[in-house]
């Protein structure tokens, strides 16, 4: 196996004054996560860099401190899951379920992400510079997701709250069985899922979208009026026999 159990007395060597480096060639993911979890609220070790992630799963999960973690390379599943307050950047692609159940803080992926990005997220920001695969924002409950590329099929499936902003296209069945949440798509939508409909883009929505673009640093580059808004038709909240064919 590739993970090394080599024991080094001080794995987090300091390069810059304030930056700590963790190399996953010489340490395990568990050691990294335990180290990050053990930091105190008033820690001075606020900047972390993770080298050689080599597609490993569960890197930087469960963080609950205002620290910054940069991961240099592609990561596996569930990276930055359950994130609270921390700012996590992936300099590469991310596997299934990046930032799943994110609570607050910010997760930024420079490359593409696999399916179920930001799944069930209840707050915070997830920014994806590349494309997201299927089921992006599935069951989202308040997270704000911004994808600079396109999203795959069944994105925002059963979405309950938050925003999904897509600068590219959306795949089939966007917003299937959506409760609430606002979906802003600039490109084409292959098809809308059950109970998802296009809605008017009013000023309040343009303002909200502008805020989302602003938090991703692209407010000046992208025109809010080039987006269309999609949301819930609110016909399938409660079971009704007349809607049986739509479920």
């Amino acid at each position: 196996m590739q993970s090394s159990l080599a024991v080094a007395p001080n794995r987090a060597e300091s390069t810059l004054d304030s930056e700590r480096v963790f190399d996953l060639r010489t340490s395990t993911v568990r050691e990294l996560n335990q180290k990050l979890h053990s930091l105190s609220e008033d820690t001075n070790e606020k900047f972390w860099r993770v080298e050689n992630p080599r597609g490993r799963h569960a890197i930087a999960v469960g963080l609950d401190l205002p620290i910054s973690v940069t991961i240099n390379g592609h990561v596996g599943y569930y990276c930055a899951g359950m994130n609270k307050r921390a700012d996590v950047t992936v300099q590469g692609n991310a596997g299934v379920g990046v930032a799943e159940n994110i609570v607050s803080g910010r997760v930024h992926v420079r490359g593409d992400v696999s399916q179920s990005a930001g799944a069930t997220g209840i707050g915070g920001n997830l920014i994806i510079d590349g494309n997201a695969s299927a089921r992006c924002g599935i069951s989202m409950k308040g997270v704000n997701i911004l994808v600079k590329g396109s999203v795959g099929h069944m994105s925002a499936f059963m979405a309950q709250a938050g925003t999904l902003t897509v600068l590219g296209d959306a795949g089939e069945a966007l917003g299937d069985s959506i409760y609430e949440a606002r979906l802003y798509v600039r490109g084409s939508v292959a098809s809308l899922g059950a109970d998802c409909m296009e809605k008017e883009m009013r000023d309040e929505h343009k303002a909200q979208l502008f805020k989302e673009l602003e938090s991703a640093g692209i407010a000046g580059e992208v025109d809010v009026s080039s987006f269309r808004r999609y949301g819930s038709a609110r016909q399938l909240y409660h079971f009704h026999i007349d809607n049986i064919s739509s479920y």
Binding site: M1, G55, G76, N93, G95, G111, Q115, A134, G152
Partner: protein, 299 residues
């Protein structure tokens, strides 16, 4: 769960390292499939010859079997035993005679793969052990596929391990499960295709083989599969000169691919690909649902 891997070389200079690269990929997928493992390797062909991959109980004396074949007046170009398997290279003209004599002199031996270039190996056990037993690391090749199995619905047996082969130089590995394999098996059975197991994946392999035998290209066969195969699947398929990938439209089963000037590689997860040469410079992407990907070697 299961893990699948595939490697298709474009650069001949990597061919001597092929087995070592594939073995590493296979071993990385141990935690997705620790029950059994298997792989198919496409090596170099011999003129007017065919390779038969044989499988037999532990301790079978393959060299004695080769002697029996020679005694029966048959030409044995090569017999390379590897643990429970052996690759027997014979003259193409004598293929059916060899199979006939084998059944008589060594009824415990099964012919599990036939190809000009393909050799196929699978066994129960940890992927690293399986790779070691068959000396995968020493094998040269141009392309190949592999599978690590976590059995969920049928017994952990050698016959239930992947890859499945249903045609000359054709094989397939699968992550997922098919829901219409019984009906398809009946339909393919009516065309005279026989099955060695009750496994759903064998039906998918036979489906592709049947399409190819009816004149489809690999790409056409994969695209047709999108309409006819119902269920969850990520397939990686090998033919004598081709390599293909297909995911079902729902695409629950994971897949990552990488391509450089030197190779195309497939893994259930990115971890599989991390030790490939120049992976940092590779184009890494997730293959799209319901889209047939295929590569063909120029001969």
């Amino acid at each position: 769960m299961c893990g699948i891997v595939g490697l298709f070389l474009k650069a001949p200079r990597l061919e001597p390292e092929f087995g070592a690269l594939l073995a590493n990929m296979l071993e990385t997928m141990t935690d997705r499939g620790p029950d059994s493992a298997g792989f198919a390797v496409y090596g170099s062909p011999q003129a007017h010859a065919i390779k038969l991959t044989l499988r037999a109980p532990v301790g079978t004396d393959f060299i004695a079997i080769a002697t029996s074949l020679k005694d029966a007046g048959l030409e044995v170009r090569e017999m390379i035993p590897r643990d429970t398997h052996a690759v027997l290279t014979v003259s193409k003209n004598e293929q059916s005679k060899v199979v006939e004599v084998l059944a008589r002199v060594a009824p415990e031996v099964k012919v599990v793969g036939t190809g000009h270039r393909m050799e196929i190996y699978k066994e129960v056990g940890l992927p690293a052990d399986v790779a070691r037993r068959f000396s995968l690391k020493e094998m040269k090749g141009t392309h190949g596929i592999g599978h690590t199995r976590m059995a969920t619905e049928s017994a952990v047996t050698t016959a239930g391990a992947h890859p499945f082969t249903t045609g000359v130089d054709q094989c397939l590995v699968h992550n997922g499960s098919l829901s219409n394999h019984c009906g398809l098996r009946r339909q393919l059975g009516l065309k005279g295709i026989s099955f060695a197991t009750q496994n759903d994946t064998e039906v998918a392999a036979a489906y592709i083989s049947n399409r190819l035998s009816e004149g489809d290209t690999l790409g056409q066969a994969l695209e047709a599969g999108l309409g006819d195969l119902d269920g969850f699947y990520t397939f990686v398929v090998g033919t004598e000169s081709g390599f293909g990938v297909l995911r079902d439209p729902i695409a629950c089963k994971p897949a990552v691919m990488a391509e450089t000037d030197d190779y195309v590689a497939f893994g259930s997860e990115y971890r599989v690909l991390v030790d490939l040469p120049d992976i940092e410079k590779a184009h890494v992407w997730e293959p799209k649902p319901a889209h047939a990907y295929f590569w063909q070697r120029g001969n």
